[in-house]
Symmetry: C2
Subunit: 395 residues, 2 copies
């Protein structure tokens, strides 16, 4: 199995991009990733050889499918291999995984993974209806159960079983907003206090407005290359590369009611376990963790599923300062889904970019202290799919 | 790069499956593929380790996205890696390519590629509107240019440049129907004559009703394993394996008007070229070719792009008997998209299954004489994406 390195990182600002097309967002992120890797976009060079697009809802919300070929062409990469990878909210992580597999296979030496989504500027159905296609439609979505409603069921049960109270979740969102303040690409750069959190109106009781992440538009891209091809490709590296030490996808039932334990993110646990095994580390070694805080209770459950907290105790990391930049396990270091914003299928690539920046020591005011190992995990629907990647600093 | 073998082949009948759900179609094909490989579906075994779903329009037409996790769970494979791969009409081929990459990478030893689509039994928008999201929406679909209308533009130009006349395309459809007659999974098992073809009404002038393939429901699945893991997996083989000798995806502009030459399927040419190179053969060695005959003119252009005919002469293979089971290059040997039916994202997997059956010598009345090399190629939209696979008999 060949080692895969991350060379280039790119992202657009996350927010409402009503004036920018889907393909333009993707191009901006790709251009930025190639420039970051000191590669000029000639459109005919050997780098990148393939493009994997993470997207969730463009066929419904922008009435545009077939994004692989469309974005390859618009980015001046006409002719290269391209396809779209979809796994609900884990689409970005799943596209990154495919890029890793493609390079590890030996078929190609370089690939771009780009995540792109427009959720605030749409044609056709609304976002809630479209996002409900990521649930088990026959049994959930068609009955009116949106992803937020399902998260509310999970949170209600979590409160009941763990003894956590509503104010105990404030720490996740306060931390996310604190970190987003110094991220120029974040959607919400305002401070949030526990007092304001406590007064927030309910979205789907007990999920309040600050428990949930905002729908957003945005694109992020990474350039990956085979470590053993670096010489052949004659790239001038402007940054130390970051190694993909673990890559895994796992699944669970999509329908919440089919799970033996609705408070156990089994796919998150399985995929993290596989990634840990590949990297030869465990949660104790991980220095920074971008998790899928689409809802505060998801952050708690992800921390538990990945071994950072015992079952039923994930929320305590937020109340005890364990998740800050200098805490036991820094999460949402650039704002997370909550405050950087959640552009659906792009989110998984934003997470990878953010972890890689941490490992480069290039995170500025958002820098965690000297991280060597970083982990990114994104979830599809309420954990029906989980894509987990472990990155390592190479130096 | 590890060799990848096809062990199990499965498919449902192609047609109108109003009474069968999307997930049930997929399960039937998967079950059939695992049985064909003599593997019981225990749901917890080491085979398969991953599932790649080729699908094109389910989020729009069935309001169900997130098919990877959904189908893995419903098939008793809960927990395994899964994702959906989309590349318009080439989605099936793209999913197969991802499965090949995953196994070649060394990360996993076995994978299922399943293509599934329901086009005749839908909720929400009609098929034409949904399929138009595979065009360049801003410039084509939103202006009312459906895939069929775009094919008509291509055919009109082809007639003008090549000197072919409308009756010259009959041979493609007559051949497809002749082969479908003995395929119990084909949608249209009736004979078609050149006389009936000539009287067919126009769908989008000059594309008549028999120039175009029917929208259909169906699912097909293949089980792939690493050749070097066959001993470890302790599989009892009931059929000689078929080797994946070449696998490639290439892209072109999605918008027809952006192409320097609208009569050159560049992505088909590029991906076939890459696949030939990997397999170490050329078109002269290919004994059977499942091509993307969504429209008769596409069959002609695919034959030209892949080196079976000179530019502008692909149609002559149909008028001169070159495409029959005993012709120079047998195509649509089980009916092709035209008569077996075109279930969108499943089509690419049907093609792979059909080529593999030919190489096994297991095609019954549809058997081409003793083929050693077979090729399958599916196209997204009017050739914006092409996925080409070359299979080899191992014996």
């Amino acid at each position: 199995m060949r080692d895969v390195y991350l060379l280039g990182l790119g992202q657009t600002e996350v927010g409402e991009h009503w004036e920018v097309s889907l393909r333009q967002l993707a191009l901006t992120a790709i251009d930025s990733a190639l420039k970051d890797a000191s590669i000029e976009m000639t459109g005919r060079g050997p780098v990148p050889e393939a493009l994997f697009v993470g997207n969730m809802l463009a066929p419904q919300l922008s009435r545009q499918a077939h994004l692989g070929a469309l974005i390859a062409d618009f980015s001046g990469l006409r002719g290269i291999e391209a396809a779209t990878v979809e796994a609900s909210g884990a689409s970005g992580g799943a596209a990154f995984r495919q890029a890793c597999l493609a390079i590890a296979s030996g078929y190609i030496d370089s690939a771009l993974a780009v995540g792109v989504e427009k959720l605030t500027d749409t044609v056709g159905p609304g976002v809630s209806g479209a996002a409900s296609t990521s649930t088990d439609t026959d049994w959930e979505g068609a009955q009116g159960a949106t992803p937020t409603a399902i998260a509310a069921l999970i949170m209600r049960r979590y409160l009941h079983e763990t003894g956590a109270a509503l104010p105990d979740f404030a720490g996740f969102s306060v931390n996310a907003h604190a970190n987003a303040k110094t991220n120029p690409n974040a959607m919400f750069r305002n401070s949030l206090t526990a007092e304001v959190f406590a007064k927030a109106s309910m979205v789907a009781d007990p999920v309040n407005m600050f428990d949930t992440a905002p729908d957003a538009d945005g694109a992020a891209a990474v350039l990956l290359v085979a470590a053993d091809s670096l010489g052949k490709l004659e790239l001038k590296l402007s940054h130390a590369p970051v190694r993909v030490a673990g890559a895994a996808i796992a699944t669970d039932t999509v329908a919440l009611h089919d799970r033996p334990d609705p408070l156990f993110f089994r796919a998150a646990n399985l995929s993290a376990g596989r990634a840990y095994e590949q990297a030869g580390i465990g949660p104790n070694e991980v220095n920074v963790f971008e998790l899928h805080d689409a809802f505060t209770v998801f952050a708690a459950l992800s921390l538990e599923a990945c071994g950072f907290a015992a079952r039923g105790e994930g929320w305590q990391l937020a109340t005890q300062g364990g998740i800050g930049l200098k805490g036991r396990i820094p999460i949402s270091t650039f704002g997370g889904l909550k405050a950087r914003g959640n552009p659906g299928g792009a989110t998984g690539i934003y997470q990878i970019v953010e972890v890689a920046r941490q490992l480069r020591g290039d995170a500025g005011a958002n820098q965690a202290p000297n991280p060597h190992w970083g982990m990114a995990q994104c979830l599809g629907s309420s954990g029906g799919t989980a894509a987990t990647h472990i990155l390592e600093r190479v130096s």
